[in-house]
């Protein structure tokens, strides 16, 4: 299981890479592996205001659809244009080419509510018990 150390994680298996006052957001290796082949991603509109833990996107695999929640409150600055025609990038490169959107943070203090890589690793181990 790939859990990069420079990212923050939610209990719903989103990751966030904070760069100053913005963050890249996607779903974790665990999430993409659980979903299987991803066939469609519904991304938020640029400019949309989100609260932390709001549903922000939908990811569909062959068998199921799942909500993706925003790790932060803020405004959607941009989305990954490649996912419309190549949703499989989420399977192939979930932390890089398969990111979902970039959000401008309203409140950097919200980082405290997320897990670092070690805490997420422990959280995943708890789920598998």
């Amino acid at each position: 299981m790939n859990i990069p150390e420079n990212l923050l994680y939610t209990k719903d298996h989103e990751w966030a890479r904070v760069e100053g006052k913005t963050a890249y957001v996607g779903i974790t290796d665990y999430a993409q592996g659980s979903l299987g082949d991803i066939t469609f991603v519904d991304l938020p509109k640029v400019g949309k205001a989100l609260k932390q833990a709001d549903p922000a996107a939908v990811v569909e695999s062959v068998k199921a659809a799942s909500d993706v929640y925003s790790p932060f409150s803020g405004t959607v600055l941009s989305v990954n244009p490649e996912l419309a025609s190549h949703p499989e990038l989420v399977n192939k490169s979930c932390y890089e080419k398969g990111f979902f959107f970039v959000i401008q943070l309203d409140n950097e203090q919200e980082k405290a509510k997320l897990m670092d890589n070690n805490a997420y690793q422990v959280y995943l181990e708890g789920l598998s018990k």
Binding site: G36, D37, F40, E60, K63
Partner: protein, 360 residues
């Protein structure tokens, strides 16, 4: 109730399969991935563990036992060595199950039914059989593997011999595997050239291993079995057909022999005359977003029906589905699938969705 496991359960787990409950059984949904397994079945050959399905052996004269009345198909016209797809109906013409009848001998039949309906099918058959007959539910001692794909003959010939080449579509024969009697039929539910192999359940693991020794053969799960059958427009019992719908509303009329007597015939004839209240349609989208079971189908903002099956089509790269609708809609009409804030424009199409399958 705990889900049952097939004799191959530990083999699936060892291969890293994702297991999930299906019809009371814990079954492999996928190994490598649904899209890869789907493509491999369309291009090469895949083996599916179908041990969960039910098999009954009936020794009876079709007429005097009442068996002929239980099945919609013309079974008395079947030569031994052939099989036919058909339905069992209730008095209201609701579909109790879809099944395949194998005529083993003049008065000997194998009936293959869905996993979730084994018990109710057995009850229905026994309740309607009279006179002299012997009925055996052999589901627990019968293993079943489906080999599907354009190279399935190449894969099977090496194990069972060239006699297997004689099988034409919807016929079967008896073969040996490890000195065990097997039945192999030229059938399947993927649209591709394929075979269904019935083997005593204690030998199914060695057959599974033998098939996978062939580098052309890969294991495939129920996930891609579902996308394969959906691309062909084949209904899935419990989703696209059930007790609420008849073969007329499901468009499966061609599997009904109206020249004979069968349970549900009067209701079916009445429905045929008045036209079904709802009928099964096939729809396709330009979008990759999938309609799912239970989503609403709308025509000009009026709800006209419900989706029964929907998925991304691996072969077509867009979403496809089936559902029942009311009204006189025709091929080419635009409809809208809606659920919560999801809207998927679709167009009614003819089945099959995918026309590249090579069954013969």
């Amino acid at each position: 109730m705990e889900n049952q496991k097939t004799p191959l359960y530990s083999y699936h787990v060892a291969l890293g399969a994702k297991m999930a409950p299906f019809g009371g059984w814990l079954m492999p949904i996928q190994y490598e991935g649904i899209l890869a397994e789907h493509a491999h079945t369309r291009n090469q050959v895949s083996v599916f563990d179908i041990c969960h399905m039910g098999e009954f052996i009936l020794e009876a004269d079709a007429f005097s036992s009442g068996f002929d009345r239980v099945v919609t198909q013309n079974i008395t016209g079947m030569p031994p060595g052939t099989c036919r797809y058909g339905h069992m109906l209730n008095d209201k013409a609701g579909i109790i199950d879809d099944l395949i009848v194998y005529r083993l001998k003049e008065k000997s039949w194998m009936i293959v039914v869905n996993a979730a309906t084994i018990r109710s099918d057995e009850d229905n058959l026994k309740n309607n059989l009279t006179g002299e007959f012997t009925f055996n539910n052999v589901s627990n001692i019968t293993g079943k593997l489906d080999l599907q794909g354009p190279r399935s003959l190449e894969a099977i010939r090496g194990i069972f011999g060239s006699k297997v080449e004689m099988l034409s579509y919807y016929t079967f024969g008896e073969f040996d595997f490890s000195s065990q009697r097997c039945i192999i039929s030229r059938t399947g539910y993927t649209g591709e050239l394929g075979y269904e192999i019935y083997v005593p359940s204690e030998h199914v693991a060695s057959l599974w291993a033998r098939l996978l020794e062939d580098s052309r053969v890969k294991p495939a799960g129920l996930g891609c079995r579902d996308t394969l059958r959906l691309e062909m427009g084949y209904p899935l019992y419990g989703h696209d057909i059930n007790l609420e719908y008849s073969p007329v509303s499901a468009g499966l009329d061609k599997f009904v022999d109206y020249s004979k007597d069968f349970i549900g015939k009067q209701a079916l004839l009445k429905e045929k005359e008045s036209g079904p209240k709802e009928r099964l349609i096939y729809f396709k989208s330009d979008s990759r977003r999938s309609a799912r079971h239970g989503f609403g189908i709308y025509s000009q903002s009026k709800r006209v029906g419900t989706v029964t099956s929907g998925s991304f089509s691996p072969s077509l790269g867009v979403s496809i589905g089936m559902g029942y609708i009311r009204g006189n809609h025709k091929i080419g009409d635009q409809l809208l699938i809606k659920e919560d804030n999801i809207e998927i424009p679709v167009v009614i199409v003819e089945k099959p969705f995918y026309s590249g399958a090579r069954p013969n």
